[in-house]
């Protein structure tokens, strides 16, 4: 048992932090958000650091790093409030493509590693909420391949992505766990239409409509892989939230030690001091469970799924509490668009909704409950 970071992991963290400091100010984020949330340029800069190849095997031009390195990068991107589809393009998509036939991996993974190509998962359907296996989009055989018909929503950076990984049903009813295929769809493919829009947290998403759209099969047995990719996405969400909370608390502490009311700094009032203690509690519980999430990613599916749901229940609560309290502790300035705090708050709020909210995952923990309890249960 060891929770220390290696020197290489610390160097990776420092490299991301240095880039944030030099290249990603709040002013830049704010300007991107005001301009509609296009972030492909930011993604390209992360590619310039080699980060888009983080999770891709060295044999395909990546760095072949693991879950802890991904966590380290996500924490720093969170701390810097970096606006880019990094988790979607560099962590989730490579997980899904790991099961693709060799020629497909050879064709796309090196370009993904280099950041020339952005691939994102397009799985959300209107009626599915957070149920990953609720898939109405249909796949039918056509010639040597397949065509897909259906609609996917809230696709991250959807109108900036080059390809989509689309879960579509090869057989069975909409809610069956089996019969889900994963397909690669090019943005410009015939019958595919994409409508983008800004998101609450200053980025973009899109609706993707598919009408007999040609698609390349990644795997016909995609349900379990989809679960795994969502777990990778959730671990990234947890880590990003830790970075966000860490920085938002630091900003709040600085404000409390500066702002005076009734002739004294806010930091001197016990009611507010106790609230900061509670905020610190949620941060450290959240950080602990973010570590837990990343370290459990390599476990067999039942343990991994349960652990990731447990982590998201903690992080979901932590990010909501820390976000809300830090805004409250600021008073009026906290609710303004010009102040950085509100942007941390909005990002935290949206992260809770990614890959299943707290209530959803609480249900998962409940369903997967065993007689034993604890980290090693």
């Amino acid at each position: 048992m060891d929770f220390d970071f290696t020197d290489d992991q610390t160097a990776l963290r420092d490299a991301v932090a240095r880039w944030v400091e030099k290249g990603f100010s709040f002013e830049r984020r704010h300007a991107i958000a005001k301009a509609g949330g296009k972030t492909r340029e930011v993604y390209a800069e992360l590619a310039g650091l080699g980060l888009t190849g983080l999770a891709i095997p060295e044999s395909h031009g990546g760095m072949g790093f693991g879950a802890v390195e991904a966590m380290v990068v996500m924490e720093e991107l969170g701390r810097g409030l970096v606006n880019a589809p990094y988790a979607a393009g560099a962590l989730v998509a490579p997980t899904l493509l790991s099961a693709a036939p060799a020629e497909l991996r050879r064709a796309w993974l090196p370009k993904m590693a280099g950041g020339q190509v952005l691939v994102v998962l397009a799985h959300q359907e209107r009626a599915a909420r957070y149920r990953l296996h609720h898939v109405s989009t249909r796949a039918t055989a056509a010639g040597s391949g397949h065509v897909l018909t259906g609609a996917k929503g809230i696709v991250p950076a959807g109108d900036e992505a080059d390809l989509f990984i689309v879960p579509a049903r090869l057989s069975g009813a909409d809610t069956d766990a089996g019969g889900i295929g994963l397909f690669l769809v090019e943005r410009g493919a015939s019958g595919a239409s994409v409508r983008g829009y800004p998101t609450q947290d200053g980025a973009r998403a899109a609706e993707l409509h598919l009408a007999a759209t040609p698609a390349t099969l990644i795997t016909a047995d995609g349900g379990a892989l989809l679960d795994q990719a969502a777990d990778v996405g959730n671990a990234a969400v947890c880590a990003e939230a830790v970075g966000l909370m860490d920085k938002l608390i630091a900003v709040t502490v600085e404000y409390m030690n500066t702002r005076k009311q009734f002739g004294a700094t806010l930091a001197t009032f016990q009611a507010l001091r106790h609230r900061i203690a509670d905020v610190k509690m949620q941060l450290e519980l959240g950080r602990s469970m973010s570590y837990f999430a990343s370290m459990k990613l390599g476990e067999p599916a039942p343990q991994r799924r349960r652990a990731l749901s447990q982590a998201k229940v903690q992080l979901g609560q932590s990010m909501r509490f820390v976000g809300q309290q830090c805004i409250q502790l600021h008073g009026g300035i906290g609710v303004t668009d010009e102040y950085v705090g509100s942007h941390y708050f909005k990002r935290l709020a949206m992260l809770e909704l990614a890959y299943g909210d707290t209530m959803h995952h609480l249900g998962e923990v409940s369903d997967r409950m065993q007689d034993t309890a604890g980290v090693f249960a």
Binding site: A277, K280, S288, A373
Partner: protein, 399 residues
């Protein structure tokens, strides 16, 4: 970064597991697993079994006859003991006063007191709180006046846990009124058989006699029983607090109690009730998060690379979770948590049958649940109330 214990640590755990399984008396573990009343004999029997193995002072260095385990090994020992249903080690001797005697006591004091603490033969109590000094402990007034080769002690201590069994008591006493309150306090070891000591029970709302008042009326204490220097006692008390790291979270016992909650929820037909089950799930997440926080502290201690100052957080969270599981246990018992039958807390109580017909299927396991809920209100108050802990945490964050 690796969540798993090393092969050596796992082998250590197996060794402890096997030893506890072979040596923990079944009648005692039965009581612990069912939250029944533990007698003085139960507690001391287990202390002596541990003592004979040299594990009653399981956190002690080798130099004083302890096993010299590191933080992870100590955690694994606590975990195996908790899981097997061993009684909590009464901390006042081996966990609290012994480290102070080791660090600040004279060789004579060490020779005189440490063996009896390790063996489990001598029962120690703690004399800190006073009626006027709770959270503001430094305001304590119990006086010790030097007269020749003795101190004459007058005053009152309170909340003395299991003091009715105490043979020795370590006390913070006022030896000076000069300067700040903290600088006039001394650390005295007092034989509870000394003339002038009176122990009076305090009955808590669960009907239990767990805590006491201890009165000192011109009690003569040999000056050789002063630990360290006069008026430096506050430093030793703080040292003791710093010594207590992860144990305060009590996560290992909490895991066992969570398992008990699941068993009782099943017996009461609540396990498949989604609303109740979700409450257990929420608690389970809290427990895993607390355990992860504890493991982070242990890892930091083991490697010495990063220091993690979260003792306040562990106290707050650990105690809140303890209260939450006692709350859910009582709710699981539902209406059958209502009866107040002290005898139902004793092992082998046959009242369920005696009241036969009233409780078809048996409800005896529900009867202790109300009392435990009431008893555990103490956890957020003792050891520095959670509000004082929040002050400490806030200090680390805000300055």
């Amino acid at each position: 970064m690796d969540l798993n214990f090393t092969a050596d640590e796992l082998a250590f755990r197996s060794e402890i597991h096997a030893w506890v399984a072979a040596n923990l008396p079944k009648d005692i573990s039965h009581k612990v697993h069912n939250a029944l009343h533990l007698t003085r004999d139960d507690m001391q029997r287990w202390a002596r079994i541990l003592g004979a193995k040299g594990w009653h002072g399981y956190a002690w260095p080798k130099q004083f006859g302890g096993p010299g385990w590191n933080a992870v090994q100590r955690h694994l020992f606590e975990e195996e003991c908790a899981r097997a249903g061993s009684p909590r080690i009464v901390p006042f001797g081996p966990v609290m006063v012994a480290p102070v005697i080791m660090a600040f006591g004279t060789p004579e004091q060490q020779k005189r007191h440490l063996p009896g603490i390790m063996s489990g033969d001598v029962w120690w109590s703690q004399g800190y709180s006073e009626p006027g000094s709770g959270s503001d402990l430094a305001s304590l007034k119990c006086r010790a006046e030097r007269r020749g080769n003795s101190y004459i002690v007058n005053g009152q201590k309170t909340w003395t846990t299991l003091g009715q069994y105490g043979e020795w008591i370590f006390c913070l006493v006022r030896t000076s009124n000069e300067g700040k309150p903290q600088t006039g306090i001394s650390f005295l070891l007092i034989d509870m058989k000394s003339p002038g000591i009176t122990v009076r029970p305090i009955i808590t709302m669960d009907g239990a006699h767990e805590v006491n008042e201890v009165w000192f009326d011109n009690v003569e204490v040999p000056a050789e029983n002063l630990v360290g220097e006069e008026n430096k006692g506050w430093n030793y008390a703080k040292f003791l607090l710093a010594h207590e790291r992860t144990g305060i979270a009590d996560v290992n016992r909490t895991k066992r109690e969570l398992e008990r909650l699941k068993r009782i929820a099943k017996a009461e037909g609540l396990y498949d009730d989604g609303r109740f089950r979700d409450q257990i799930a929420l608690l389970e997440v809290d427990v895993v998060a607390l355990e992860m926080l504890v493991l982070r502290v242990l890892s930091a201690e083991k490697s010495g690379k990063a220091s993690l100052d979260v003792a306040g957080l562990l106290k707050i969270r650990g105690s809140e979770i303890q209260q939450r599981y006692t709350e859910l246990l009582m709710l699981a018992g539902g209406p059958y948590s209502t009866p107040f039958i002290r005898e139902a807390m004793e092992a082998g109580w046959q009242g369920d049958q005696a009241l036969g017909g009233l409780w078809p299927g048996g409800a005896a396991h529900c009867v202790p649940l109300g009392a435990t809920y009431f008893n555990y209100r103490k956890t957020t108050i003792y050891g520095g109330s959670n509000e004082v802990q929040r002050n400490i945490v806030a200090q680390t964050v805000l300055g």
